[in-house]
Subunit: 127 residues, 2 copies
């Protein structure tokens, strides 16, 4: 059963205002973790707008550093990531977003973006 | 039993050369995960030197953005993080470092830096 986290705009704003957007383009780091398997699915960046959208809608939103725009994860693939919880780190510049994935998190079709071990990576880097 | 990952300098160099240091100060993002509990302990940055040191010594090394220096995690606290595995993401700008922690990962003494839920965070932000 999915227990989607949806906060009020007031609560979301209060959290968003207190984070430390010290990373590039005024972002925090977001680590996306499967709430059931505890596997890490992907890492992205969030600006204040992405934090508020994520917390009020229950859908993972990120700030795309390469496309320089707000990005609702799954908007083209349909592989939305439903937010169940958030954890904030000690210096408030990184969060864990715990999700129920509705499909593969990776654009390659893999369940997780971290699908390569060091042997795979050495071999792929050789080609 | 700790199965420390220690690669040869040649292997470590081959991995380090192929990563995409696109984040601030020519770094990748490193997510540190407890290999047993799968809890996420902390997030940091690694430059090429930190990657090579981590992979050849089996001790987590990071690049400190605030102190602008290489940082062997635990060098002052003794809470070293022993590296057991590494996973590389699809665009090679982030890694998971799977560790056996020898003590709390957080400078606050907490097991993980992500010890606050959103309610704790809202309340602490109010103070």
């Amino acid at each position: 059963m999915v227990k989607t986290l949806r906060l009020s705009l007031d609560e979301a704003n209060r959290i968003a205002e207190s984070l430390n957007y010290r990373h590039e383009y005024n972002t925090i780091i977001a680590v996306v973790q499967d709430v059931e398997t505890k596997e890490i699915l992907m890492v992205g960046n969030m600006n204040k707008e992405a934090v508020i959208k994520t917390l009020t809608t229950g859908y993972l939103h990120l700030w795309s550093l390469s496309r320089n725009k707000l990005w609702k994860k799954g908007e083209t693939s349909g592989n939305f990531q439903i937010v169940e919880d958030i954890k904030i780190d000690c210096d408030a510049d990184a969060v864990i977003i715990k999700v129920k994935p509705l499909g593969p998190a990776c654009h390659t079709g893999n369940y997780s973006c971290f699908y390569r071990g060091y042997n795979d990576f050495i071999n792929s880097a050789r080609m």
